[in-house]
Symmetry: C2
Subunit: 385 residues, 2 copies
């Protein structure tokens, strides 16, 4: 693991955290007549279909902290209208996936990193932390119960959404003395609604809108990072762009795209390939797919891998010199998604990502999905029991 990532995650877990325990879990199954029909893989829309069960773990300071984990039928959550999550955005989440391989086994991908990041988000939100491995066991139990929902397809997967919200019923901007940690599951197809063969997306880069800033929480997966982006995202959609590419600073640094980290493949002045991505400087989310790409590329030893600030003017310059080779995004939902165009300062920058003979993005997509679906044996993929 590279240093910045180790530094990042070593800040994480307070070993004194008194966690819930998987061994306390209770399961209440949905009655057979309540089980939902499973949609066809082709008909899957991201985040619109839910499985039959969910995981719930309550936290109450006055009841000694974490309560026993419960798997129960998927049901509405009942919140006091003054619950802090509804007023002050005391909320955070993670995104993970379960994959069904040709061998029939169901695997999850580096869940310990998601849970470490979730604990970081919890700490920043004054919400309670927990033991990552206990939570992973609870999630595996939930997935196991709803295992028939994991699509029988390598073009789809089961999206896992662990969520932690502050439920204390009192107005006043302060930490929440009660909380609900829960997880729901969604069978999903490709994030951008394209086919399994990755199709390139277009991004809108408008320097007038800023996602995150130094002294803020842009590197934590808190709900508050998302609401302000929705309107800008809608404007991008109307103009025909799938995502916003968030810039920062007077030099228009490329940060991330809200649901994806961004990678750029260039040729340096000696004609050597380099893979560049923004550093973990507080302005971007520390993506697990991002980290995996960096680690894999370093293992390949075929080109230099650099975490550094890269700006839009630099991209324009590289493009002019025909040294801009690929741009792609990475994320749990979108996996690895090529970028073909960035609209910036009234001009479209065309990127020859899809015109490469053997592009890095495609090899990376193949390797990562190969690991996730078990075609490639790798310690990052963890079979559920």
């Amino acid at each position: 693991m590279n240093k910045s990532f180790i530094r990042f995650f070593s800040k994480v877990v307070n070993s004194e955290v008194k966690s819930f325990k998987f061994s306390d879990i209770s399961v209440r199954l949905a009655s057979p007549e309540r089980l939902q029909p499973k949609p066809e893989v082709k008909a899957l829309q991201f985040g619109k279909h839910f499985t039959d069960h969910m995981l719930k773990i309550e936290y109450h300071v006055r009841a000694g902290g974490w309560q026993a984990p419960i798997v129960c039928p998927m049901e509405y959550i009942s919140l006091h209208p003054a619950a802090k999550v509804l007023h002050y955005a005391v909320e955070l989440f993670e995104g993970m996936k379960a994959y069904r391989g040709k061998d029939g086994k169901i695997r999850i991908f580096r869940p310990e990193l998601n849970m470490a990041r979730m604990n970081l988000s919890a700490s920043r939100s004054c919400l309670p932390q927990f033991d990552a491995e206990e939570m992973i066991k609870c999630l595996c139990r939930l997935i196991s119960i709803d295992q028939e929902w994991v699509p029988h397809s390598e073009a789809a997967s089961l999206y896992i959404r662990p969520t932690l919200v502050g439920t204390e019923p009192s107005l006043g901007v302060a930490s929440s003395e009660s909380a609900l940690l829960y997880a729901i599951l969604c069978p999903v197809g490709p994030y951008f609604g394209t086919s399994s063969e990755a199709e390139a997306v277009s991004l809108l880069a408008d320097p007038n809108f800023i996602r995150a800033w130094p002294g803020g929480v842009g590197d934590r997966k808190m709900g508050s990072n998302y609401a302000p982006t929705i309107k800008i995202q809608e404007q991008a959609h109307k103009k025909g762009y799938q995502q916003v590419l968030w810039l920062y600073g007077e030099d228009n640094q490329i940060t991330e795209a809200g649901t994806m980290n961004i990678f750029v493949v260039i040729k340096n002045t000696k004609g050597e390939k380099q893979l560049i991505t923004a550093p973990l400087n507080g302005l971007i989310l520390p993506g697990i797919t991002r980290q995996s790409i960096i680690q894999l590329a370093k293992e390949w030893r075929e080109f230099e891998v650099i975490e550094r600030v890269i700006t839009m003017p630099e991209l324009l310059h590289l493009s002019k010199e025909n040294r801009l080779i690929e741009v792609f995004g990475s994320g749990t939902a979108c996996v690895v998604t090529p970028v073909k165009r960035i609209f910036y300062r009234d001009d479209a920058l065309e990127i020859p990502t899809m015109e490469q003979q053997d592009p890095i993005f495609r090899r990376m997509l193949k390797t990562i999905t190969g690991i996730q679906y078990g075609d490639i044996e790798h310690p990052w993929a963890r079979p559920i029991d």
Copy 2:
């Protein structure tokens, strides 16, 4: 009204908004045995006691938009676990108060400004807007039903919390096709738990933490502005400071304090008093109390009122020259609250706010509460029917 405020609110209401109508309201009263005992004024804690009823108005694109307003017994809200408010902080709120005067009448203060601001927050959050006057009538009806909850005291009031949250049950960062607008009521005493005679507070100003930034949503009352402040606020508490004073930029501009706008009274080099507050440049919330203070002070014509950037180094300089006279905060919850100390760069700046003979903050507090409680006849106070 001053120009920046007019400009601010003229952006507001789309007259094509298809609003709910007060005339469609239905009322379901709590049964007598469910009515809660009313706490004594002395025992009131901010935002912890709730009245017997609430207002609820649902919005569903697929059902034609806004549904009929409902007043019902205070009850838990039932949300799908994928509701957008729980993941992406699609939520916003307002803070208002109802005051019981010596004449027994209950008044609300400039509610049209709160509703205009709420519509601005809704627009920025891709949530539905509504007709301000229809909503005010619904709120008045709710207050009227729970009128015995409006404290019989000029040291207390009934806090009104209109809230709008995105309820669409789908993961994916996008606008919400369904929403819930609701309002709850809390009898409250002084915000900082001090007596009705205002006591001075201390603020922590740490340049390492930034509340809002250009290109963000710091001027909208969205939940996403609050979650990131809680941890910093707790650190301030531990150090003995009531609030954080949020700075911005390399020059450490004074912006606001999260629940208060900030005013500074200085003497200029000619020895003339000036009242200074940060401008509406996107970094601060456009407070209704802030605006009222500016308007009143301008009517008084006794000193200059200036909306401009003022920095911490400038404050230190003014203090050294004995030209820093008062600092105070303003907000619906805290009304007008004097500031006695700001901790900044390892040093405490002592402010002689409480040592003035006839300080502006006290006269302002008296005037505004006088209007709110009906001791001073003024068009800003609107009696409820």
